[in-house]
Amino acid sequence: MNKDTSHINSLENEAIYIIREVAAQFERPVLLFSGGKDSITLVRLAVKAFYPAKVPFPLMHIDTGHNFPETIEFRDRLVEELGLELIVRNVQDSIDEGKVKEETGRYASRNQLQTTTLLDAIEEFKFDACIGGARRDEEKARAKERIFSVRDDFGQWDEKNQRPELFDMLNGQIDLGQNVRVFPISNWTELDVWSYIEEENIEIPSIYFAHKRKVFLRDGMIWSADDEVVYRDDHEEVIEELVRFRTVGDMSCTAAVLSDATTITKVVEEIRESTISERGARIDDKRSEAAMEKRKQQGYF
């Protein structure tokens, strides 16, 4: 077995080790699943980690209600095929209960509102570890995060006082009420994820491939022209373009990129040559220099 010869395989071995540590050290872990490429990769890694036994924890999707329909359809099919348990909690419910207030105006997004729904769900199910698909190359506040990242009982991240993390030793000891966010693919880059999806022949939602879509332009970014979800001024003209998405989040905060990549191989090629970062298409990160760090302090995953 020459599994350790390639970089991508050593990342795979590292991630599997981390996922097993979660299952071993925690009582009620959950895998946060958005239907995006990173969490799909996580699911594959989890399946591998426990084979031939089943994945010993459920998946949970915090549904903003503004997801791309392709993603939801894909999510349900994947869960069905793998025989996994899926928990869904809806941001809409948090809005209806008056716990969060829907943003209005040009940049309204439900992305930030997810945090409340997530923290409520963690409390409801008493989850002590939440596995997430965040990567350190995504964003500079992310680049600072540990693999086992302890959150207090308000879900908050204390960025100045993180636990030392040495060698392979992951300390999962926490107090009641605290939880740990676990990032098994911390050391992967966007290109690594795509290369792995290609190598493993993993199925992903069609939204990641180039397709014709109604869009409009604002602030140099391509927004999805879904009138239900994304606020658009009358003067912002709807056009049809050949686009794909590099990151799949809430529709209201995820911009598309012009692309003709219709296969994984072409996507990998495109990413390799891209001069724009993945998060360059995340509208919510552009809000301020520290947008991500602030969200994380509040409990964002």
Binding site: K3, P52, A143
Partner: protein
């Protein structure tokens, strides 16, 4: 592609973040949007240069104070290699984060401010690199532009550092001196024409040709059992697999093994990686092993080759790097996490404190304060199976966990 993990070390304002930003910029690894953000913020702050540290100092407090607090992991690739750089803090108070960053690195860059020369922090950083047994070290003498690119200054610092080197106990280290200016880009990615007296390579050129010194190469096979896999499905009704990561060397089907602590003998029956079977499990692979005999194996147990077993003992002595604000005192109990195994440990005695400036040891020490390094003897409530750190990186290291706060409060290297 080969990947090289590098840790940076240096004192405050030595320019670590700037150096990394410079490498990213000169290798065209900064994407357009990130570069735009750096340009915009540099301009807002009234700088007449691009502040590359903005690329790595990701926390508000870091940008506010202009210092690095926690490790940032930076990723970039050249045609030859992929790199992961752990940009670690220089502040004494954040030494624990420096150890965090350096523990998984194969090479290290120690920065020295050419105007200041070798200072106490340099000693500490070199000492920690030595303690962690990092093989390739680059001493980057930075800010050469501020000392008129003087060969004399460079030689003086080099000589001072060589004196430090003569005091270390790990002689296999390869140390390379490179004069640079991270701000101006001299000898970082491109060879500078301002220092014709320097005949060596630019920093990146040097890193490109480093052989990946495999830090996990040392030692013999150790297989700590992470998780017991029992599917209990119709198809795999009697399947009992031991999931874990292989450290040290390879394990193969048919190997005669011993399971610790029960010392039961068996043979490796199958090696699975997902749904495929393999003849050999190589180092660092996260496999699942089945044994010929139906024996009771749990998490924390260790599978080793019959002819090569580690020390099994209820006490050990280790060099401890103390990382907590609360002091370590004899008699106190901690959880020792050794690989995936956890045992309760009592501090038996502090043998002596080690000064990271190589000025010797201090006996009659009653407590350890944050960032102290000392030789400590522990007694355990049950035996662990360990090797000396110098012989086995994984099986010779551990962390200490505070039983009250659950924090990781120390790192240890077994002697």
């Amino acid at each position: 592609m080969e990947v090289l993990k590098i840790a940076t070390a240096g004192s405050v304002d030595d320019g670590k973040s700037t150096l990394i930003g410079r490498i990213l910029y000169d290798t065209k690894s900064l994407t357009t949007d990130k570069l735009e953000a750096i340009k915009k913020t540099s301009k807002q702050r009234g700088y007449d240069y691009l502040d590359f540290s903005l690329a790595t100092d990701g926390l508000v407090a870091e940008r506010e104070q202009g210092i690095t607090i926690d490790v940032a992991h930076i990723y970039f690739s050249t045609k030859k290699k992929s790199y992961i750089i752990a940009d670690t803090p220089g502040h004494v108070e954040y030494t624990r984060n420096m150890v965090t960053g350096a523990s998984t690195s194969q090479a290290s860059i120690i920065l020295i401010d050419a105007r200041k020369g070798v200072i106490e922090q340099t000693n500490r950083h070199f000492f920690i690199n030595n303690l962690l047994r990092i093989k390739d070290i680059v001493v980057a003498i930075n800010k050469m532009d501020l000392v008129d690119y003087s060969e004399e200054v460079y030689n003086k610092i080099k000589a001072d550092f060589e004196e430090l080197m003569s005091k270390r106990d790990y002689q296999d280290q390869k140390i390379t001196f490179i004069p640079v200016s991270a701000l101006k880009g001299d000898n970082v990615v491109h060879k500078s024409d301002k220092m014709s007296w320097y005949k060596g390579q630019a920093l990146l050129e040097h890193l490109e040709q480093l052989n990946k010194a495999d830090i996990y190469n040392v030692g013999t096979p150790r297989f700590p059992v992470q998780y017991v896999i029992r599917p209990k499905t119709e198809e795999f009704h009697d399947f009992r697999g031991y999931a874990g990561k292989v450290y040290g060397g390879n394990l193969s089907v048919g190997d005669e093994v011993i399971v610790l602590p029960s010392k039961t003998r068996s043979k490796i029956k199958d090696i699975y990686f997902y749904n495929e079977k393999y003849e050999t499990a190589s180092r660092r692979s996260s496999v699942t092993i089945t044994l010929e005999d139906d024996i009771n194996v749990s998490r924390g147990d260790m599978i080793v080759k019959e002819n090569d077993i580690p020390t099994i003992d209820k006490q050990f002595t280790a060099n401890v790097c103390w990382m907590d604000a609360e002091h370590l005192t004899p008699g106190t109990k901690y959880v020792v996490q050794h690989g995936v195994n956890k045992v309760l440990a009592k501090v038996d005695r502090i043998n002596h404190k080690i000064h990271p400036d190589y000025s010797g040891i201090e006996k009659d020490v009653t407590e350890l304060k944050v960032n102290d390094i000392a030789s400590v003897t522990f007694k355990l409530n049950k035996p662990i199976f360990y090797d000396q750190f110098k012989n086995h990186r994984t099986n010779g290291s551990f962390i200490l966990i505070d039983t009250q706060s659950n924090n990781t409060v120390g790192a240890g290297f077994i002697q």
